[in-house]
């Protein structure tokens, strides 16, 4: 009695699919369509202009700079964030010295650290960016204040005002605000790895380094991979936009040293009244995001371990 099975499945799926089509697919289609027009975004009339926006984009230095920064974000930020989160999670759950009663345990005070790491997650990214804007103030900011109190008063970097430092300052904020979430995510993943695996490894004389690379990481691979995609999208999209828009010189400066694709989309649409060009950059951003996800899925493909 397989008759009607697909209709049955389709019946369940039609509502979510319709919602997905209306709210996700359709805006994409519209955006791609508008990228071939000269729509200003301020009035309903516009004309088709073919590939004019695309050829303009390819000759636009600011676009290439923004693309470059977005790609750096997408490559570097997940690597550093996930690496750090894995390290923290491992230390919190497995990395502690052996104590009485339990073979596997976190470092001393791990309960406190777990809360401390997660804390940035309860603040909205806009507030985080504002707080760091104060911290980066070269004159009365916390960072230069600390530098001064430990005897580096003459260094006084301009942080966000220095084109060589600004992009790293922004990245550090994103790292700070997201690493806690992944610590918690990976901690949950690690909790589901059976303790006897570790015990067996320890009996065989494995050190913490080996345990991490031979047991924890392979068993956590699925979680790491989805974290990677999630983090990449965050670094290409809204979070990167928010911190750059709120914190940086200009925003996007000094001298385009922190401009990223979503910021350029926003500026083209809402400052320059060139919504068509904004959607063109949006299409480029879509392609970059898809490429990123494809590469991660491809590189990350591994045999799944059942346990």
């Amino acid at each position: 009695m397989q008759h009607g099975k697909y209709r049955f499945i389709a019946g369940f799926l039609i509502v979510p699919l319709a919602l997905y089509a209306v709210f996700v697919i359709w805006p994409f289609v519209q955006a791609i369509y508008y990228s071939f027009t000269d729509w200003t975004g301020l009035s309903p009339d516009f004309a088709m202009v073919g590939f004019a926006n695309y050829s303009r984009m390819l000759g636009d230095d600011v676009f290439w700079k923004s693309l470059q920064h977005s790609v750096i974000f997408a490559l570097l930020l997940p690597l550093v964030t996930l690496g750090l989160a894995l390290f923290f999670a491992f230390m919190l759950n497995v990395g502690g010295r052996r104590r009485k009663g339990a073979a596997i345990t976190g470092v001393r005070g791990s309960g406190f650290y777990k809360i401390a790491y997660f804390f940035p997650q309860v603040l909205s990214i806009a507030i985080v960016a504002l707080l760091f804007q104060f911290a980066y103030n070269p004159n009365d900011g916390v960072i230069n204040g600390t530098l001064e109190s430990i005897g580096f008063g003459d260094v006084r970097p301009n942080w966000l005002g220095d084109p060589n430092l600004a992009l790293w300052c922004v990245m550090a904020v994103l790292l700070w605000s997201t690493v806690g979430f992944f610590v918690v995510l990976f901690s949950a993943g690690m909790a589901s790895i059976p303790k006897d695996f570790y015990e067996a490894a320890l009996l065989d004389g494995a050190n913490r380094f080996t345990t991490f690379f031979r047991i924890t990481l392979p068993l956590l691979w699925d979680t790491v991979q989805s974290g990677w995609v999630y983090m990449g999208i965050l670094a290409l999209g809204a979070e990167a936009f928010a911190v750059v828009q709120i914190m940086t010189v200009g925003p996007g400066g000094p001298d385009y040293s922190t401009s990223v694709l979503p910021l350029y989309v926003y500026q083209s649409a809402f400052r320059d009244a060139n919504a068509a060009y904004a959607t063109t950059i949006g299409v480029a951003l879509l392609i970059v995001t898809l490429l990123f996800a494809a590469v991660v899925m491809r590189l990350g493909r591994r045999e799944r371990l059942e346990y």
């Binding site: 009695m1 397989q2 099975k5 209709r7 049955f8 499945i9 019946g11 369940f12 039609i14 509502v15 319709a18 919602l19 089509a21 209306v22 359709w26 519209q30 508008y34 000269d38 729509w39 200003t40 975004g41 301020l42 009035s43 309903p44 009339d45 516009f46 303009r56 804007q133 980066y136 103030n137 070269p138 004159n139 230069n144 006084r156 301009n158 942080w159 966000l160 005002g161 220095d162 084109p163 940086t248 010189v249 200009g250 996007g252 400066g253 000094p254 001298d255 385009y256 500026q267 809402f270 400052r271 320059d272 009244a273 060139n274 060009y277």
Partner: protein
């Protein structure tokens, strides 16, 4: 999946069929929703009931329909919204039957753009703030009402005078983009220049320096006491032009600024531009700019300046209100016109940049266009104008209108500066006409880099000239010329 259909077939059959029907029905609902959305993002104009034309009388020269609702959207920024709600109350007094729909926001563009696209904009908009809508684009797409009827209507205080004759210099001209129609009415009147504390200068035994040598000498004196000469909004270096542009005009005459506004080739290569840039660059070279300035925003720089860490800051008259909480009581806030570079300057000392702020627009598609204009006429009356000045510490577009109210120190000094300037008021338009060029390219990439000491004046001028040329060539940008 397979197991469900195999085992529980008999009993669940009816329920499942019902379910199928229901989901199909939901699917039907979502289909029209989609075609509705397809018309949404750039859909055609709506056709709601427009207000009828009221009877034109002496009391009601614009012919407002007294029973029509009026919707007003105000930018909730440095000036707050009270002045506008007070003016709404005046409107209500004149038209008791009108329902007033008041809304304030900081996101003018993202909230109102969809309404323009949908053909249902409000009747009066304070198009201000970081999310200002591009009036050039709006007017070229026929989205704005021409305010000429308002300008030709009698003033609310003196029926023998037209509204246009009661306004401060430059206000009407600023509202034009090309040709005669006036698309915007700038309600506030802003004085730009070099802002300082008279008390701080007194402490250094100094007067406001009328020429550049005196400026450098004063900065050197201040530096010995650990006070910086200048600071500015390092993150938004497009504050620097507030004193730099009138300085250029003073050195080379107002034609230099006009040719810059008109994006003429080599406009920035004029010797006056070079001289002004080099003078400012010297402040940086000699260490007269507050350390760390390139990394601080406007609020942080104003706070440092109010605390006495720096003497001078290029700014506009809103600074008195914006930094009210950090400016000490004995500060004696004053504004100075740009110091003279040398005796060969084309314009006298006192040459000042003053212009309209808070651009109000009335959308052409609004339901109650006459009502929007009438509200502006009320706001340009002496009652509302005085209320505005008293509340937000800014002058309004109404010429005069400050008698009988206590002016704050900054405003008093601004009025004195306007008197001293007389006809020598300059009004560079490049910032209204080419926002990206002014803020991101000239401001951040040119002046910002130069004032941080990373490029020389010659490099900055070359960079800016290239940006200006690119803007002149860009066909997606609407171009304007001084008339």
């Amino acid at each position: 999946m397979g197991s469900t259909s195999g085992t529980s077939n008999g009993s669940a059959g009816v329920g499942r069929r019902n379910l199928l029907k229901r989901s199909a029905a939901l699917g039907l609902v979502s289909v029209p929703a989609m075609s509705f959305l397809s018309a949404c993002a750039s859909g055609g104009g709506g056709s709601q009931d427009k207000a009828k034309e009221g009877k034109k009388t002496e009391q009601n020269p614009l012919g407002v329909d007294g029973s029509a609702a009026l919707s007003v959207v105000i930018f909730d920024g440095g000036f707050g919204t009270k002045y506008a709600t007070d003016a709404n109350a005046e409107y209500k007094k004149a038209f008791p039957d009108a329902k007033i729909d008041f809304h304030s926001t900081q996101k003018i563009q993202s909230e109102l753009q969809p309404k323009f696209n949908g053909g249902t904009p409000p009747d009066l908009i304070d198009n201000s703030g970081a999310q200002q809508m591009d009036v050039g684009v709006l007017s070229s797409k026929k989205q704005l009402a021409d305010l000429t009827p308002l300008l030709d209507a009698p003033s609310i205080d003196d029926p023998s005078k037209k509204v246009r004759d009661t306004l401060r210099p430059g206000i009407v001209e600023m509202g034009r983009f090309d040709g005669d129609p006036v698309w915007t009415l700038y309600y506030a009147y802003t004085v730009y220049g070099v802002w300082y504390s008279q008390t701080a200068l007194d402490r250094l035994d100094a007067e406001y320096p009328e020429d550049w040598d005196a400026m450098l000498a004063l900065c050197a004196k201040a530096k010995k006491q650990g006070i910086a000469g200048w600071t500015y909004a390092g993150k938004y270096p497009y504050y620097v032009p507030f004193s730099l542009y009138p300085f250029i005009a003073k050195i080379g005459g107002r034609e230099v600024l006009d040719s810059i506004d008109n994006l003429e080739p080599n406009a920035w290569k004029h010797p006056a531009v070079k001289a002004a840039f080099e003078a400012y660059y010297e402040l940086q070279r000699k260490g007269y700019v507050l350390q760390g300035t390139p990394g601080i925003d406007h609020i942080q720089s104003q706070t440092a300046w109010a605390k006495g860490e720096a003497l001078f800051i290029p700014n506009g008259s809103w600074v008195e209100n914006e930094s009210a909480s950090v400016i000490p009581d004995d500060f004696r806030l004053s504004v100075g016109a740009p110091s003279a570079l040398d005796a060969s300057d084309k314009m006298p000392f006192g040459t000042l940049w003053a212009s309209g702020g808070e651009p109000f627009i009335v959308p052409a598609q609004a339901n109650n266009v006459a009502g929007g204009m009438e509200q502006l006429r009320i706001m340009l009356g002496e009652t509302s104008s005085k209320n505005f000045t008293a509340q937000v510490k800014s002058l309004s577009a109404l010429n005069g209108g400050t008698d009988g109210i206590e002016l704050t120190p900054g405003l008093k000094s601004a009025v004195a500066a306007l008197d001293k300037a007389g006809d020598n008021i300059v009004n560079p338009r490049i910032g209204d006409w080419y926002v990206k060029l002014q803020k991101e390219q000239i401001g951040v990439s040119g002046l910002g880099e130069m004032m941080a000491g990373r490029i020389t004046p010659a490099e900055a001028i070359k960079k800016i000239q290239d940006f200006a040329d690119a803007t002149a060539k860009d066909e997606s940008i609407k171009h304007y010329k001084h008339q």
